[in-house]
């Protein structure tokens, strides 16, 4: 909200500078986000009088003007067309400087000399208005400095008013805060009315169908209003608050809203059918054009102000175009009312229509201010529109009952804030805030929350008032106390941290992606599973429309992004949640993904092998090591298929009977979309499958006492025989003494022949009881060789 300081000072005599006030407000709960000096930089702008104008001979859009600066006549070329001869305008003569620093020089525009510039409000930093040049009051004398006409530079505070303080959404509310902070008096004007017209009841009737929707509705009628621009000072204040001046009647309703926080509405009385007001829910299918010229479809969920036949305003939000105040308006019906905050909010959201009025009504306005606001506006209309006021006011429902007292315990105040207060200190703070006290003693203070403070409901709300007025800087910082909650269990989050540390230790770098992605990207990885997908109802963009049910697409995309930036080698992981539909709910599950591309730095000589086999085995080895350091159950590989992975290069990961993940080589079509030329290995698994259990510690195994003996073994086998088959045969009936089986070479040659390969192993034997003799070792080794010959038809090349 914007707060012009000259306006504030009408209600409170505060001498402090803008900066001092800003600091006080910021540290009492209303953050001042900026201080503007509206009009600063306009010192060299003067009032000019347009003496005559004609069209530019060579440019239809330009006008050649003769402008008086009070002593001389200047030729000025101007692009606006909202003025006529005789108008007073804002003139920047040659040599003048605009607020943006630009200095006006004599110029030729399409061949015509221009010795100055006629300025629009936005060019002078006065408002955002660029509809045309600024037209000044007719009585302003040419040559007068513009700032003299405008009443000088206005200092405006930009405030962030919190949701709980609707009372601060106006100048008087902020004046009340400032008065409390400085211990000053608040001066609220008492509007004097001359009700010379016939009684208001003879003009109109008001019917409120449900007092819950509209707790209070008042109406006044003003006749013979003279529609014209409002006075300069009022227009300046509206503009400083970001409200566009329109005409005197509308401006006065806005002015009073900004002043006291109570939105008002003025209807053109002549447009009201049967001259009466009905506050009711809209009928289904009812339509209405609002002031912004939008046709609105209304529903029974919305409250409208209607005449005898049709809606004339969306209650508390915006008036209708049909009853708008226009130059032809003579009689005005002035509405001052309150509407249910939740209802106003829902309607505002449903219509996508948020206004200064709805902003205040949805935060609660003070029911007690309704009548004052109506009187204030009526008095101003009498003064500035020459209107005659009908006698009396229609007031439906009237004042609200007072709130029950809130009992505040001083002992609890001290224990909650960590600061002690005397009763007198508390009473003094409450008095400054204009919060009445019903009674008090040494232990308690009973507070009567005023109607303008709807946020004060319970004891803690009063404590907050005392804390903020006292100053939160006065609250000491108590030394932190290391309270241990012994039965709190955070083993899992700690296991995740340990797992991340291991992954990083294994040379992987962590990436992080959004939890949603584009449908297009998901589709690339298979459309089959789209009944699993969880879509956002209202995504910001199509790029982020689907919740991820797998980390693989984004891992591929991240590697692709890097490949596109010449980062061709990467080893990455991501830990994140995936989301999918299961049963009638949405499942959420933590996953781990791993991606390997190229030869990541520091991965040893093995990383030089970027063949499909080398890449696949590298990610497999990585998982094996991860399982080892995490002390997790072993993962078994079983052939599988997946749309992301090359056929034959894909395996499911099983922990016991449960499928916990998948790994494989990214299919070439997807890889090629990102111009990745080397094989890319990726894995994804349920994070819980590889998390260590805190108390699941691997027990100690005795260090062998006796030496081991190694025997090598080379097998000639068919290509179809896999390493796993060989190990299985070796280990299936292995003696206790066999402690290690290590593959150290795979060899193919013409000599060996097509479809065959040589696999060389080193077997380690060791006894826990004694040193094995050569004879014993040989016996064990021969038995294994015999089994290999029988079961795999292996040809043994002994060494």
């Amino acid at each position: 909200m914007k707060l012009p300081l000259s306006w504030l000072r009408e209600y409170v005599d505060v001498d402090a500078s803008a900066e001092e006030i800003a600091e006080k407000l910021t540290f009492s709960g209303t953050e001042v986000e900026g201080i503007e000096h509206v009009g600063a930089g306009c010192e060299s702008i003067i009032v000019g009088e347009v003496l005559a104008w004609e069209k530019h001979p060579k440019a239809d859009r330009l006008r050649l003007c003769r402008v008086s600066d009070g002593s001389n006549e200047l030729p000025v070329v101007c692009g606006a067309d909202n003025f006529d001869a005789g108008d007073k305008v804002a003139l920047a003569p040659v040599g003048a400087t605009l607020p943006d620093g630009m200095t006006i020089k004599e110029a030729k525009l399409r061949g015509e000399v221009s010795q100055g510039m006629l300025c629009a409000e936005d060019e002078l930093g006065l408002s955002a208005d660029h509809a045309g040049i600024m037209i000044l009051p007719a009585d302003a004398a040419a040559g007068t400095p513009l700032l003299d006409v405008m009443g000088g530079v206005e200092t405006v505070l930009e405030l962030e008013v919190t949701w709980n303080r609707p009372d601060c959404l106006c100048v008087i509310g902020m004046a009340r805060e400032v008065a409390a902070l400085y211990g000053l008096d608040l001066k609220i004007p008492e509007p004097a009315l001359e009700e010379t017209g016939k009684p208001v009841e003879e003009w109109t009737r008001v019917e409120v169908q449900d007092a819950a929707d509209c707790p209070r509705y008042t109406a006044r009628v003003l006749t013979d209003a003279e529609l014209k621009p409002s006075p300069m000072w009022m227009r300046r204040r509206l503009a400083c608050c970001g409200v566009r001046p329109i005409n005197n009647v509308v401006d006065i309703t806005n002015y009073v809203m900004l002043e006291c926080g109570h939105p008002l509405h003025a209807f053109d009385f002549a447009m009201l059918k049967e001259s009466r007001i009905v506050v009711r829910r809209a009928a289904e299918g009812e339509q209405m054009a609002t002031l912004d010229d939008e046709e609105r479809r209304l529903t029974p969920e919305m409250l409208v102000i209607a005449d005898a036949e049709r809606p004339v305003a969306v209650a508390g939000i915006m008036g209708g175009a049909g009853s708008e105040i226009s130059d032809a308006t003579q009689t005005v019906l002035l509405e001052s009312a309150t509407f249910d905050p939740a209802l106003t909010h829902r309607t505002s959201v449903a219509l996508g229509l948020s206004t200064e009025s709805s902003h205040r009504f949805e935060r609660t306005v003070d029911r007690a201010t309704v009548e004052w606001a109506s009187r204030r506006a009526a008095a101003l209309m009498g003064e500035h529109c020459g209107a005659t006021l009908a006698a009396g006011v229609i007031d439906v429902c009237g004042e609200a009952a007072g709130q029950a007292p809130i009992v505040c315990r001083l002992g609890r105040l001290e224990s909650l804030l960590g600061v002690s207060f005397s009763r007198d200190e508390v009473l003094a703070i409450l008095a400054r805030l204009q919060i009445p006290v019903a009674e008090s003693n040494d232990e308690t203070v009973s507070v009567l929350p005023p109607s303008f403070r709807p946020d004060l409901k319970i004891e803690a709300d009063i404590f907050e008032e005392i804390a903020r007025m006292h100053g939160l800087d006065e609250v000491p910082a108590a030394a932190p106390m290391g309270r241990v909650v012994v039965d709190a269990d955070d083993a899992r989050p700690r296991a995740v941290v340990a797992c991340r540390d291991h992954l990083v230790g294994l040379g992987l770098s962590e990436i992080m992606n959004y939890s949603f992605l584009s449908e297009q990207l998901v589709d690339r990885f298979g459309k089959d599973a789209d009944d699993r997908r969880v879509a956002l109802l209202d995504p910001v963009s199509a790029d982020h429309g689907i919740m991820r049910d797998s980390l693989i697409p984004q891992m591929a995309e991240s590697l692709g992004h890097n490949a596109a930036h010449q980062e061709l080698n990467a080893a990455c992981f991501e830990i994140g949640s995936v989301f999918y539909r299961a049963g009638d709910g949405i499942q959420e599950e933590d996953h781990l993904s791993i991606g390997l591309m190229g030869q990541p730095q520091g991965w040893g000589d093995g990383a030089a092998d970027t063949s499909p086999e080398g890449t696949f085995l590298r990610i497999k080895g990585l998982l094996e090591e991860l399982v080892r350091v995490q002390n997790a159950p072993a993962l078994e590989l079983q052939p599988d298929t997946h749309p992301a992975f090359e056929p034959g290069w894909c395996a499911a990961l099983f922990a016991g009977e449960e499928k916990v993940g998948i790994l494989g080589l990214l299919v070439a079509p997807i890889r090629h979309q990102w111009r990745i030329q080397v094989p890319v290995a990726m894995a994804e698994l349920k994070l819980d499958a590889i998390l260590s259990q805190t108390h699941d510690v691997q027990g100690f195994k005795a260090i062998p006492v006796y030496p081991s003996v190694a025997r090598d073994l080379a097998l000639l086998v068919d290509e179809s025989v896999r390493h796993g088959d060989i190990v299985q045969v070796i280990e299936s009936d292995a003696p206790m003494e066999l402690t290690g089986v290590d593959l150290f070479d795979i060899f193919r040659s013409e000599e060996i022949g097509e479809g065959r390969k040589s696999m060389a192993y080193s077997l380690t034997y060791r006894s826990a009881e004694r040193t094995l003799t050569d004879e014993e070792t040989n016996r064990l080794h021969v038995a294994i060789m015999d089994r290999l010959r029988q079961e795999l038809k292996a040809e043994i090349r002994e060494r």
């Binding site: 303080r165 960590g418 804390a467 108590a478 309270r483 990083v504 230790g505 990436i511 991240s558 990467a570």
Partner: protein, 339 residues
């Protein structure tokens, strides 16, 4: 030669083999120990004079040593000749060549900040609690004392799913879930991912992370909260960083404060990072509203507590000087390798 002397001789022989700096010296060691008139043939010759209980061991040791030394001398000879770069040439080894071997990966800066924050609060006895990203409106809003028509309930700020649930806009629902599931004391921090319908720009991201804290006990004060956040500020941003409170409004705390840290870059004198003010807004906090305690079934008369929350991305950006939040989600290795 008795066993004791032999062990000494073996040790000397192995050492001399390594100390030999030329091929001739290697040969000299060989002759001394293994030559026809060397020490080992002599040991074998004299074996019969060794005490009977040591005889077997001496013989075994001598044989092992002969084999070992022969191998050692052979490899030493290779080191000192031909292509092998031996001691004589070690002066020409280029020790400025790049080192080889393992390289650690990197933690994402968001994880790094979360882990550090968790560790700092961990030292004060806070444990981590987690909850789902997909939340009920009740846990995300109503239980936190947010009125049904609060602006943050708007669809424009919240991602809704078709089963009436939503993506949490804050990690506060975890606090509610923990309080619903246990009695006080509660002392938790809740790092996690949150979602808001912000259009992404340099400082806004539809996905972001928060860490919130909650301490509920019988005698908790605003002064305790200030002390806790002051300790966090020192540990996270530096020993000279101070905290200050400004009044604010959050629906689930009363009183509510905003907590600023003094700028760690300029020490409070004003710079670009703190936009000249000397202070950086870091956390929202306050004393838990009694109405929240009522919602979770705690007795608001006997229970007090504080809660605080802060944005992880914001801390990461301030701490590492990252100018644009989008860098955190681009996964560019040139960025990630820096952490």
């Amino acid at each position: 030669m008795d066993l004791e002397t032999l062990k000494k001789t073996v040790a000397e022989g192995l050492e001399e083999a390594g100390a030999a700096q030329t091929a001739d010296a290697v040969e000299a060691v060989r002759i001394t120990y293994l030559g026809r008139k060397g020490l080992m043939p002599q040991v074998m010759k004299e074996l019969k004079t060794v005490a009977p209980e040591e005889k077997a061991e001496v013989g075994r040791l001598a044989n092992t040593f002969k084999k070992e030394l022969a191998e050692l001398l052979e490899s030493r000879r290779e080191e000192l000749s031909g292509d092998g770069k031996g001691a004589a040439e070690s002066a020409t080894f280029d020790y400025t060549l790049p080192g080889r071997g393992p390289r650690r990966g990197t933690r994402h800066p968001i994880s790094a900040v979360i882990e550090e924050a968790v560790a700092i609060f961990g030292r004060m006895g806070f444990t981590v609690a987690e909850g789902p990203d997909v939340e009920t409106p009740y846990h995300n809003f109503e239980a936190l004392n947010t009125p049904g028509y609060h602006p943050s309930m708007d669809r424009q700020d919240t991602f809704w799913l078709d089963d009436g649930k939503l993506l949490r806009t804050q990690t506060s629902p975890v606090q509610i879930r923990v309080m619903e599931s246990r009695t006080p004391p509660v002392r938790i921090v809740t790092p996690g991912r949150c979602y808001r319908r912000d259009t992404t720009d340099a400082t806004h991201s539809a996905n972001f992370h928060q860490i919130e804290g909650l301490y509920v006990d019988s005698q908790v004060s605003l002064a305790d909260l200030k002390g806790t956040l002051a300790y966090f500020a020192h540990e996270m941003m530096g020993p000279d960083v101070a905290v200050r409170f400004r009044p604010h409004f959050f629906p689930f705390t009363e009183p509510s404060v905003e907590c600023d840290f003094s700028c760690h870059v300029c020490s409070g004198s004003g710079c670009r990072v703190c936009k000249g003010s000397g202070w950086i807004e870091i956390a929202g906090a306050g004393m838990v509203d009694p109405r929240v305690f009522e919602k979770v079934g705690y007795d608001p008369e006997t229970t007090t507590g504080y809660a605080f929350g802060m944005g992880i991305e914001r801390i990461a950006m301030i701490r590492y000087g990252i100018p644009d939040i989008r860098l955190l989600y681009e996964n560019d290795m040139r960025f990630l390798r820096q952490f």
